[in-house]
């Protein structure tokens, strides 16, 4: 039998180990964000937001070059992906929560988790076969479809748990008043679950917005602004994560620093969505 003293010392020691481990785990976050901030802010300038990239010679000859086409492309592709993913994700989430006795639900749950667990790059290959091959060209649409595959399972899961959190008595109260089931869901359950659902959407959006792998073989990338705005949907489109990858592995140091600028913009974009989602959830907890 160990003495009380030794047990106390052991206890204190473990506490110290846990604190040190926690600091060690959080250290990389500080280092990565710090480096991106320092290198990225130095590389940001007004050209970055107003000029298109063009050929490498532009950067090498010190002519104005930037990523305006990339930023617009990212917004277009991400929003299009959200538009595709929201109905499917929310619909499937509703099936799981509002018709809990449905025979297909166990299958749907397994398939949804499977889809969620699949590497994003496979979703890119899938969208390549589904959209790029029949269309014969890489396109923003294909990129959006690939990203929607990333969003859908997250939205479905978040919707399910947000709707499940609303007590059945609320639905029964609505049904007792003679309101049909679909009206109860849309007018009573959904408003009550609004915050949870929106948080799910935002987290799915933030996750997809940072993905580069599925975009490499779908929206492909483009150094120039399209001639017509439809070019953002039906032609190859630049997006921030994919452009950041191309810049980082390019041989030009001018493009490397532009890559850091792209990194800070992308990081700010993703972290901002993330923080909004977190703040929304925290407010709900207080209520």
């Amino acid at each position: 039998m160990k003495s009380m003293r030794r047990r106390e010392i052991h206890n204190k020691m473990m506490e110290g180990v846990l604190v040190v481990a926690t600091v060690l785990v959080l250290l990389p976050l500080l280092i990565i964000v710090g480096h991106v901030l320092v290198e990225g802010v130095g590389a940001l300038n007004s050209d970055f937001f107003t000029q298109e990239l063009g050929s490498p010679s532009r950067a090498l000859l010190d002519r104005p070059t930037g990523l305006v086409h990339t930023i617009i492309g990212t917004v277009v592709v991400d929003l299009l992906a959200l538009a595709i993913a929201v109905p499917i994700g929310i619909g499937a989430g509703m099936m799981l929560s509002e018709y809990p006795e449905h025979l297909l639900n166990p299958t749907l749950r397994i398939m949804n988790d499977t889809l969620n667990g699949m590497p994003a790059i496979l979703k890119g290959l899938f969208a390549f076969v589904l959209i790029v091959k029949p269309m014969g060209t890489f396109s923003g649409l294909a990129g959006a479809v690939a990203l929607s595959f990333v969003m859908i399972p997250i939205i479905a899961r978040a919707t399910e748990s947000a709707l499940m959190a609303i007590p059945w008595t609320i639905r029964e109260a609505g049904l007792a008043l003679g309101i049909p089931r679909w009206r109860v869901v849309i007018s009573t359950v959904m408003p009550a679950a609004k915050i949870g659902m929106v948080t799910g959407l935002l987290l799915a959006f933030a996750r997809a917005a940072g993905e580069a792998a599925p975009l490499l073989f779908t929206s492909f990338g483009n150094n120039y602004l399209p001639d017509h705005w439809l070019g953002f949907i039906f032609n190859p489109v630049d997006t921030l994560p994919q452009r950041l990858y191309s810049l980082a592995i390019s041989p030009y140091s001018e493009w490397h620093s532009m890559g850091w600028a792209a990194a800070i913009v992308l990081l700010a974009f993703v972290v901002l969505i993330f923080i909004i989602a977190r703040v929304a959830t925290r407010d709900r907890m207080k209520l």
Binding site: R7, E8, N11, E15, V17, A21, T22, V25, L26, P28, L29, I88, G91, A92, M95, H102, L108, L115, G117, M118, P119, A120, I121, L122, K123, L125, F126, L130, F149, I152, A156, G178, P180, R181, W182, R183, V185, A206, R207, A209, G210, E211, A212, A213, L216, F217, F220, P241, Y245, A248, I249, H256, G259, W260, A263, L266, L267, V270, V271, F274
Partner: protein, 334 residues
């Protein structure tokens, strides 16, 4: 609707209202249910479609070489012989992912324990959010940091001294160690470990939080110190969830693409060495898919995608199986 009816207006209006009522009550529910179920089925179709598409697109390569030859052959030559074997990439994926999990597991568990059992509520919330923030950093951002900051630093301060020391004392080990160029298996593994820690932590914390209060209180009542409560009452109860979470994190590491593709050095031939360049299944797809010209090459990359699908599927199913078997009651297996 009857437009030239001679019935009084109010009756007609009543009838109309009745019809709308039926549409509103009965048809509305029907339409809603059909719509929702169709959307649900579309997710099932997506998951099945993905497996089928990857298989059928890769079937040329799989039938050319045979499934087992394809996954066990060590030669990947898209240039001259057009012979494709996926083993180097499967090997690279499994080694980097398992090593990353081994590195990440205990720190992640420590953070989960600290945040769940030790930290005051406010501090715990801060730690949780910061850990989640690591998960929110896009893979490419970690990749660019790895290329320009981490890899050069690791090469100069860690790899080179180890390499020099080994060269003097155990020169026969140098082939195992490989060239310390900075971009290779070791760097990719370290970055992978950093990237999966948030998942392991979050899932471990969920499992720890799910341990009933009675379990802790019983241990306190026996006079345990705080660490003994955790060690003897909490962790044994939560182990199912913790292990399942670790396996799910392994799935994450297996599928992680961009940061690995940017840091692993991309070498398609075995043997890989510790510091030297290697490749994983996602990294070879990223690097070669856009440049693949030969249809057999393209098909082989799709077949690698199919193998990756199978591995990810096995990992996910194993995690959910362990979670089911180990977490209920706590004491059924082990």
């Amino acid at each position: 609707m009857k437009s030239d009816s001679k019935q009084p207006r109010d009756t007609e209006a009543g009838e109309q209202k009745h019809k709308i009522g039926i549409a509103y009550l009965w048809l509305g529910d029907r339409i809603f249910k059909v719509l929702v179920v169709l959307l649900g089925i579309s997710i099932i179709m997506l998951a099945l479609g993905m497996a089928w598409v990857l298989y059928s697109e890769g079937s040329d390569a799989l039938s050319e070489f045979g499934f087992f030859t394809f996954i066990s052959s060590r030669v990947w030559d898209p240039a001259v012989q057009l012979v494709f074997g996926a083993w180097p990439f499967i090997f690279g994926t499994l080694v980097t992912s398992f090593m990353a999990l081994i590195i990440a597991f205990f720190p992640a568990l420590a953070v989960a324990i600290f945040s769940a059992e030790y930290a005051p509520r406010r501090l715990a919330a801060i730690i949780d959010n910061l850990v989640q923030l690591i998960a929110a950093i896009p893979s490419v951002v970690i990749g660019i940091w790895g290329i320009f900051v981490l890899a050069p630093w690791l090469r100069d301060t860690i790899y080179m001294p180890i390499f020099d020391w080994t060269a003097i004392n155990f020169p026969e080990l140098l082939p195992v160690l490989g060239n310390p160029i900075g971009y290779g298996m070791a760097t990719a593994t370290i970055v992978l470990a950093v990237m999966i820690i948030p998942y392991t932590t979050a899932l471990a914390k969920d499992a720890i939080k799910a341990v009933p209060k009675d379990q802790r209180e019983a241990s306190w009542a026996l006079g345990s110190t705080r660490w003994e409560v955790i060690r003897m009452a909490v962790l044994p109860y939560a182990r199912g969830g913790i292990i399942a979470g670790a396996i799910l994190s392994l799935g994450r590491a297996i599928g992680e693409t961009m940061a690995v593709a940017m840091l692993i050095g991309n070498k398609n031939t075995l043997p890989f060495s510790i510091f030297g360049a290697g490749a994983t299944m996602p990294s070879v797809i990223v690097n070669e898919f856009r440049e693949a010209v030969e249809s057999l090459h393209l098909s082989s990359l799709m077949a690698i995608g199919f193998v990756l699908f199978l591995i990810a599927l096995i990992v996910n199913l194993t995690a959910s199986y362990i979670n089911r078997k180990l977490s209920i009651g706590g004491n059924q297996i082990l």
